[in-house]
Symmetry: C2
Subunit: 401 residues, 2 copies
């Protein structure tokens, strides 16, 4: 149907008409639960019963931040990404019931019983399935869109649908440029100004970041989520769902790995405050975070290798040396991009609640500097780490509190 902005009433009937979730005669209620800025988000549920869905519709006439253009194409990319995630990673992303290119509307699984991972981790909750699920999610969502997991000619055509210039530019600027010079929109606490400026003088560091930026801009390795931090993952103790893939494009797989890994380290640093009153609990939780960090890589590595062995049969690609070489490069990319993601959350425009919610400026600065030092070593040493243990050792060495 042609575009029209949904209301609670029309959304309810849209959900009934466009999905087979509800019985025909179900009594439904609908509530708009989004923040109403760029998207309308409706929850439609049975009045008596347990079935429910979410409709997310993009607003074409939203008051748009200058730095976020083309909202409607972003919605198309998000919906097409979710369809692919539903195909390749069933259960690890919101299930799609229906999507409508003309309405820029996605009818999807209701995840109201989940919590955003960042919030859960700040509260000190552990999620025992997280590493298994996210490692598998990244392995499957990327493998099947590499030249190894899909036909290279079809990949080139598919790539055209995921050209995402405006949202890539946000990452290129906010993650891979601005933190490394005196950009107007950086946010740098006065206590860490000197440390931030050290990075600006550090030509070797900036060279390494620039190489990662070039990789982000030119390496069409696989269709990646593009923004897979702890705020883009819903969790319960049993389930994990990656959502909001609007930054999706064909880029380096290590960028998705780095996003989640880097954000775990940000949380790790913030526990200096959040668990300040209980050193034993803090130590145990940090162990959980570092185990999760290590396990996300291990699960990814195991799944990706299994898919490779199952699907890669062509003479050049099936060379076992190539698999080892490929995984080693993914590892280095993951650690390097983790460093970039960490740095931008300390000195860049968009920061994270883990660190920002620390009210004590001295404690906050100590955590921030631990992150910046760890991040620098991640970026500089990414190609010489031989194992996750060595990476974790770096985190430990700079651990604050």
């Amino acid at each position: 149907m042609p575009y029209v902005t949904l209301t609670e009433e029309t959304a309810r009937e849209y959900a009934r008409a466009n999905t087979s979730v509800f019985p025909n005669d179900a009594a439904l209620e609908c509530k708009e639960i989004g923040d109403g800025n760029l998207n309308m988000v409706f929850r439609i549920a049975e009045k008596s019963g347990t079935r429910s869905v979410i409709i997310k519709q993009s607003l074409p006439h939203a008051r748009i931040d200058d730095s976020i253009a083309a909202p409607l194409d972003r919605a198309r990319i998000e919906s097409e990404m979710l369809v692919l995630h539903d195909r390749h990673c069933q259960g690890l992303a919101p299930k799609i019931h229906h999507y409508d290119r003309e309405m820029y509307a996605i009818v999807m699984e209701d995840l109201s019983d989940h919590v955003v991972l960042r919030k859960g981790l700040i509260q000190g909750n552990t999620y025992p399935k997280l590493a298994e699920h996210i490692g598998e999610f990244i392995a499957r969502s990327t493998f099947f869109t590499t030249d190894l997991g899909m036909d290279p000619e079809e990949k080139k055509v598919l790539q055209k649908s995921f050209v995402n210039p405006e949202l890539c530019k946000i990452t290129e600027d906010l993650v891979l440029s601005n933190p490394y010079f005196d950009a107007a929109n950086n946010r740098i606490d006065v206590e860490i100004r000197e440390r931030a400026e050290q990075n600006w003088q550090d030509s070797e560091l900036k060279l390494q970041v620039m190489q990662l930026k070039e990789k982000f801009m030119t390496q069409a390795q696989a269709l990646i989520h593009g923004d897979l931090h702890t705020g883009s993952i819903f969790v319960t103790k049993e389930t994990t769902k990656a959502f909001d893939p609007e930054f999706g494009f064909f880029g380096p797989i290590g960028f998705d790995l780095g996003a989640i890994l880097g954000n775990l380290i940000l949380n790790h640093a913030s526990q200096q405050w959040h668990m300040r009153d209980d050193a034993a609990r803090r130590a145990a939780f940090r162990l959980y975070l570092l185990d999760t960090f290590r396990e996300i890589w291990n699960v990814f590595d195991r799944n990706f290798r299994a898919l490779w062995k199952q699907h890669v049969t062509t003479p050049m690609e099936s060379n076992p040396l190539y698999l080892e070489n490929y995984m080693a490069r993914l590892f280095a990319d993951a650690i390097g991009f983790a460093g970039c993601k960490m740095t931008r959350r300390i000195v860049g425009l968009a920061q994270v609640a883990d660190i920002r919610s620390i009210p004590d400026t001295a404690v906050r600065a100590q955590a921030q500097i631990a992150v910046l030092d760890t991040a620098r070593e991640f970026i500089m040493k990414r190609e010489s780490y031989r194992s996750m243990d060595e990476v974790v050792e770096t985190v430990r060495r700079y651990e604050a509190g």
Copy 2:
């Protein structure tokens, strides 16, 4: 105008109507000079006078080789490439008078006074401007389509127009895969079979080639010509014109450099036969070839750096360490892809007249093996060469005859 296959008569009037090359009342003559398989090529010239043009029109219903699909989109890509070359590298590619998407017709400069470089080199002719022109052509055609020489958002959109799956597949198969295993369409002279099979057993070599293949398939560095061997360059003593850019796509710059560099070495090896009767002339011509080899890189390097210094001003990209790092990687890519181009012309489906025209099987085999050995060292050592002198030393070491 809607598509219709041109004839000599309609081509003549098409040229008159769609260019301003000829005076209105000029008496024109037209002759079809193409091989008539995939393209019609017409030469339209004044009966009395010096003005002339070429019309190249793609045939939509040609008897198509299975391995060469989508001829019409290929024509679009060729014409759009030529327009960009005309803009960025004036004088170094055929001048475009007119191009017509519906007719798949390009009206371009008549280069009948030029010779194909491969033919000229086989005859032992020298072209003193070749290195200067080709170095500049590759520098300018690529720089202005990198993220350094054009707006990154516009680049991503432009990239969509140059997605070229069918022709990229030809390169992926014939250049970067088949020569390294017992592919059905390889052409391997019995005298060198054993040497060819050595490569098939060489897992380290195949790993390096696979890394170059991955780069070809995923690195959208710049809009490259894609097939810049000595058969795609027209020359006179004074002028140089790169033509036939139908393989154009966003790929690694080193692939264009490697194509011309590798083909010079193929000619170098073939002079063992072509100049067999004159050792002094052979030695001098080989010096010319190696000087040209070295100078193409040097001119490219100088031009690319000059463009960089003129145009790159953003904080991350203008880091002088990044320029050095970027050029070092281009150098390694160029040498590696040169090795791949050399190997495929010795054992692959599409070979070169330089070597193929040697009737003496023993002399030919000696040249072929010199090329394969040089190519292997190019591929394996590409990241450790510190200068063109070291590369030339490798050529010398394996020099046949």
